[in-house]
């Protein structure tokens, strides 16, 4: 196993601490963890070894079910019920954590090792104040009196840059925004100045802009406190600029480990390479297909012998299925478990990266958007939700401006991408178009008919032409209905066709979305995440709609599966001339999918234009900020410009003038006084921007974060 390495590509992040000096802080040796649940045995961690040096940061990457979280939980023996470490050792500064008595381990938890979990909303106790929850950690390890512990809690909240720490300490978790809750979680983990911080997907539940702030905070605290960090994540972008080393996990094992820049720049394991190629940020726009990894991650209840990735690997030969590759490599400090590693170009870089950079040099072919009649025209769409107060009679004290004067259109066979942070109103737009909510003002013309004017049968007929896909495919499928019934239901509701024909329709659609025929008899719980989203897509397609509203359809999926679904959606779009309203918080996904992008902020459309142009040269500062916030995998660095900070203000009382001005680096007096209209941007064709001081166009060849930049 490699000892901690000097960071080669992340620009002096060692914090003055000689890396590799002395013995490592944390050493995991041949760890095996099993989880017994409902008569099944899952070998979640299967022989993992890794080390973390003093003050070093390690990124543990992999898709869901690869064992990365179980590895992290094994370190502190915080495994879920049924979880057992069957063999291997975890030592922390000479102490054997696997053999230690529970009461001794309690001194290590929160004292020596702090841990931050994925979802700050559920990871905080809803009935305890933030201050008490942070102070509890202090009381447990420092034995201080309550008052001293609370004082220390406020100090720690200040350390994690919590706004108004004294006030927040007295508040309950539900008072705080997602970003503030995650800061509170970090404060709990850091209250006793641990030597190691384990962060398990710390930003997955947060917006990109907030994600960047939290990651920067962890990074800064690591240097300030000289602690080591293990960052567990599925997102290569999250660790790209922030960790010294990466360990890539697959099927319960580490398949590749080296310095971060080495793994990302010259991946040798086919899985690592495939994972990177599946990133939408690397896909050329237009008709380019996203590279996806075929098949599903291995079932760890009955793992196959040999290389776990063999079944999905394009380089695999017969040999791979029978023998287990050892984790070693031809370069010191770069280990990979593969018999047939990815070839390297003469200069040492991966060949596919070069292809990419040339592909991005040209404007994509789809730039010339053919003039098609619009399928959907949205004009002045407005929706307010009343805010009421009062004990007896609900008085209207204000309103949340969820959607305010939003206009756009979607051409036939095209995709309109709607982007923005959570709470910006993008999902409300979807609900209004789908007819789940009624707009307060504005019109929705679908194929020339105003949906608000239609009633009864006419409305139902038109409604069948608009279908929905959701983020949580599992939640959107009835758990007590088999796939066939789920697909038949829309046909029955709309009395479409004869019942005898339904069976054939169902079979045809299952085939089209790439599901095996026997899926028809299965329940949603028997399907994987990707299969469920395929089924949801099939249900949306069964009435032969013209428009599908897809609300974050791939946000809950792994990168490799996400690529499969995105490719499938594009294939079906070409096949049926479908239009998509594609809603996502992830600009790189939207850029890949959409022909036209609309950017929303606090209920307002702030920028509108062709997707590749917006991504390459945003004109609204908010769009720029969103793009800058996306962690780029290849450059390993975030944008040089400071990303927009903080979280959106409350939509109950949106700021006067331009709603973005409170977070805008370019804001001036006029921004508070006058609301900028959505008008054609100067010097750009086909672009609309609502800004008093729009950004100048980026010259061709300039650096842009969303597109791959291999320099």
């Amino acid at each position: 196993m490699t000892s901690s390495l000097p960071a080669t590509g992340s620009g002096g992040v060692q914090g003055g601490r000689p890396a590799g000096a002395g013995e490592p802080l944390l050493q995991v040796t041949d760890l095996h963890t099993e989880i017994r649940r409902a008569g099944k045995l899952v070998r979640a961690v299967d022989g993992v070894s890794l080390t973390v040096g003093q003050g070093e940061s390690l990124g543990l990457v992999g898709e869901s079910g690869c064992g990365k979280t179980m590895t992290a939980l094994s370190v502190l023996r915080l495994l879920p019920p049924g979880g057992v470490i069957t063999s291997g050792r975890v030592t922390m500064a000479g102490l054997d954590l696997t053999a230690m008595a529970e009461t001794d381990l309690e001194r290590v938890r929160g004292g020596q090792i702090g841990m931050v979990f994925q979802d700050p909303a559920s990871s905080l106790n809803p009935t305890m104040t933030i201050g008490d929850q942070v102070a509890e950690a202090v009381l447990l390890h420092r034995g201080n009196d309550r008052r001293a512990a609370l004082e220390r809690a406020v100090q720690t909240l200040r350390l994690v840059k919590m706004p108004e720490p004294e006030r927040v300490a007295a508040q309950f978790p539900h008072h705080l925004s997602g970003g503030m809750r995650q800061r509170a979680m970090i404060a709990i983990a850091l209250a006793c100045e641990p030597r190691l911080l384990i962060a398990d997907e710390p930003t997955t539940a947060l917006d990109v802009t907030v994600q960047r702030e939290i990651l920067e905070l962890i990074d800064e605290l690591r240097h300030r406190l000289g602690m080591a960090v293990i960052l567990v994540t599925h997102d290569l972008g999250v660790i790209a600029g922030r960790t010294d080393r990466i360990a890539v996990m697959y099927g319960g094992r580490i398949v590749e480990t080296a310095a971060t820049a080495t793994v990302l720049g010259r991946p040798r394991h086919p899985y690592t390479e495939a994972l990177m190629r599946a990133l939408p940020e690397l896909a050329a726009t237009g008709s380019g297909r996203l590279a996806s990894i075929p098949g599903l991650p291995p079932d760890l209840t009955e793992p196959a012998g040999g290389c776990r990735f063999a079944a999905r690997c394009e380089h695999a030969r017969e040999y791979c299925a029978s023998r287990v590759p050892e984790l070693d490599g031809d370069h010191p400090g770069h280990s990979y478990a593969c018999f047939f590693p990815v070839a390297q170009a003469a200069d040492g870089s991966a060949p596919w990266l070069n292809q990419l950079s040339t592909a991005n040099g040209h404007p994509p072919a789809a730039a010339a958007v053919p003039q098609q009649p619009p399928v959907l025209q949205v004009q002045g769409l407005t929706k307010h939700f009343a805010v009421t107060r009062g004990a007896l009679l609900a008085r209207r004290v204000g309103s949340v401006s969820a959607v305010d004067d939003v206009s756009f259109e979607i051409a036939a066979g095209q995709t309109f991408g709607l982007v923005g942070e959570s709470g910006c109103g993008k999902s409300t737009v979807a609900r209004l178009i789908a007819g789940v909510a009624q707009p307060d003002a504005g019109s929705i013309l679908f194929r020339g008919a105003d949906l608000n004017q239609l009633t009864g049968r006419d409305l139902r007929g038109q409604r069948a032409g608009i279908q929905l896909m959701f983020q949580d495919a599992y939640g959107s499928l009835d758990p007590r209905m088999r796939a066939a019934s789920i697909l038949r239901e829309p046909l029955l509701i709309h009395n479409s066709g004869r019942k005898r024909a339904h069976r054939r329709t169902v079979a045809r659609l299952l085939d089209e979305v790439g599901l095996p025929p026997d899926t028809a008899d299965r329940f949603a719980r028997q399907l994987s995440g990707g299969q469920r989203q395929r089924l949801a897509l099939a249900r949306a397609l069964i009435l032969q709609p013209r428009l599908i509203i897809a609300d974050e359809p791939v946000s809950a999926l792994d990168v490799s599966v996400q690529a499969q679904i995105l490719n499938l959606m594009r294939k079906l779009q070409r096949q049926y001339g479908l239009s998509y309203l594609f809603i996502s918080h992830d600009l790189s996904v939207v850029r890949y999918m959409a022909d036209v992008i609309g950017v929303m902020y606090l209920g307002k459309l702030v920028e509108l234009g062709p997707a590749h142009e917006i991504a390459a040269s945003p004109s609204h500062p908010y769009t720029r900020g969103l793009i800058d916030a996306i962690p780029a995998v290849l450059t390993g660095k975030d944008g040089a410009r400071p990303a927009i900070s903080g979280e959106p203000p409350s939509p109950t009382n949106p700021p006067s003038g331009c709603r973005f001005r409170t977070r805008c680096p370019r804001a001036e007096q006029i921004c508070a006084e006058q609301e900028p209209p959505l008008v054609p941007a100067a010097g750009r064709t086909g672009r609309l921007t609502a800004c008093h001081f729009p950004l100048p166009p980026v010259p061709p060849g300039g650096t842009v974060q969303v597109t791959a930049n291999t320099e």
Partner: protein, 303 residues
């Protein structure tokens, strides 16, 4: 919090008005012409005016006149209500004191032997009719062992009942055993839910020991649904009191209600029904207040 309370009180008042309307409607349908005299002055005619005049009487403490005892229903109520409150209150308290550790123990040892044994025991108590349970307890502990009295406390008033622990034990035990299973089962399932919550893992990651995790993080969050349940079990407990008071010859509301029903003493039946209705409404109101006190999300949301 005040807004939330005001809203809940108002809702409770609306329910109470409906309760009085139903009771009054029943009262007027009661056979027997003697009732007219019992109901008090009836200058007004028509349902609503008569209802309001009756309501006026009720609000002034006039619940009618017992045909059997030859005294106002309110007098009867004043004597029996505190006794029943003492009996049922002690029983609920005892049930909670037993059910909380039992439920937590079951949750921690989910699907293990302890869990199964405790579930079987509590269900056995829950499933046994109270007259059987009461009789068995009397037979064993009063007749055979002579540890406790076979009859409920006979001293008057709340204090009289509470202080006579020798006679109080068996009726309280009978009532409590019935409700332990109810509370412990709820607590078990809600504690199992809480144990699986991410914040419990957070507490463990802080270095909190098992006892602290259970006390500080699991118990409080698990008690929330139980608090609601206590409010909702008020009618069940009062129904149980009717049987238990009869078995133990304990002169409380249940006993009086039973006796009045057997002897067609309708003013007493309906007067007591009204009071029990008020008790049930008050019980669920108190449960909501308790819930709000325990759960800050309700306290501040105001809805």
């Amino acid at each position: 919090m005040t807004a939330y309370l005001a809203r809940r009180v108002l809702q409770a008042l609306v329910v109470l008005v409906v309760v009085t309307l139903i009771v009054y409607a029943l009262l007027t349908r009661v056979p027997g012409s003697a009732l007219g005299a019992v109901l008090g002055p009836h200058a007004a005619s028509g349902f609503l005016p008569r209802y309001f005049s009756w309501l006026n009487q009720v609000l002034h403490g006039n619940l009618g006149f017992s045909l059997l005892h030859n005294e106002p229903v309110s007098t009867l109520l004043a004597a029996s209500l505190p006794r029943t409150v003492a009996l049922t209150g002690t029983a609920v308290l005892l049930a909670l004191i037993v059910a909380i550790p039992v439920g937590m123990l079951q949750a921690v040892n989910k699907n293990k032997l302890v869990d199964h044994v405790l579930r079987a025991l509590t269900l056995l108590c829950y499933g046994t009719p109270s007259f059987v349970l009461g009789s068995v307890l009397i037979l064993v502990f009063a007749v055979k062992l002579k540890w406790f009295g076979g009859e409920g406390p006979q001293a008057p008033g709340f204090v009289g009942v509470i202080t006579d622990w020798r006679d109080l034990t068996l009726p309280v035990l009978t009532l409590a055993l019935l409700t332990i299973a109810l509370f412990s089962r709820y607590l078990r399932s809600s504690a199992i839910d809480s144990l699986a919550q991410d914040y419990v893992r957070t507490a463990r990651a802080k270095g909190a020991g098992e006892r602290r995790v259970l006390r500080r993080h699991v118990l409080r969050n698990s008690l929330l649904p139980v608090v609601t349940l206590i409010g909702l079990t008020v009618p069940q407990i009062l129904a149980g009191a009717v049987v238990v008071e009869s078995i133990f010859n304990f002169q409380g509301m249940g006993y009086q209600l039973w006796y009045a029903a057997e002897n067609h003493d309708f003013p007493v039946v309906l007067g007591f029904t009204l009071v029990i209705g008020v008790g049930v409404v008050a019980g669920s109101l108190l449960a909501d207040v308790g819930y709000a006190l325990l759960d800050p999300r309700v306290r501040y949301a105001g809805r």
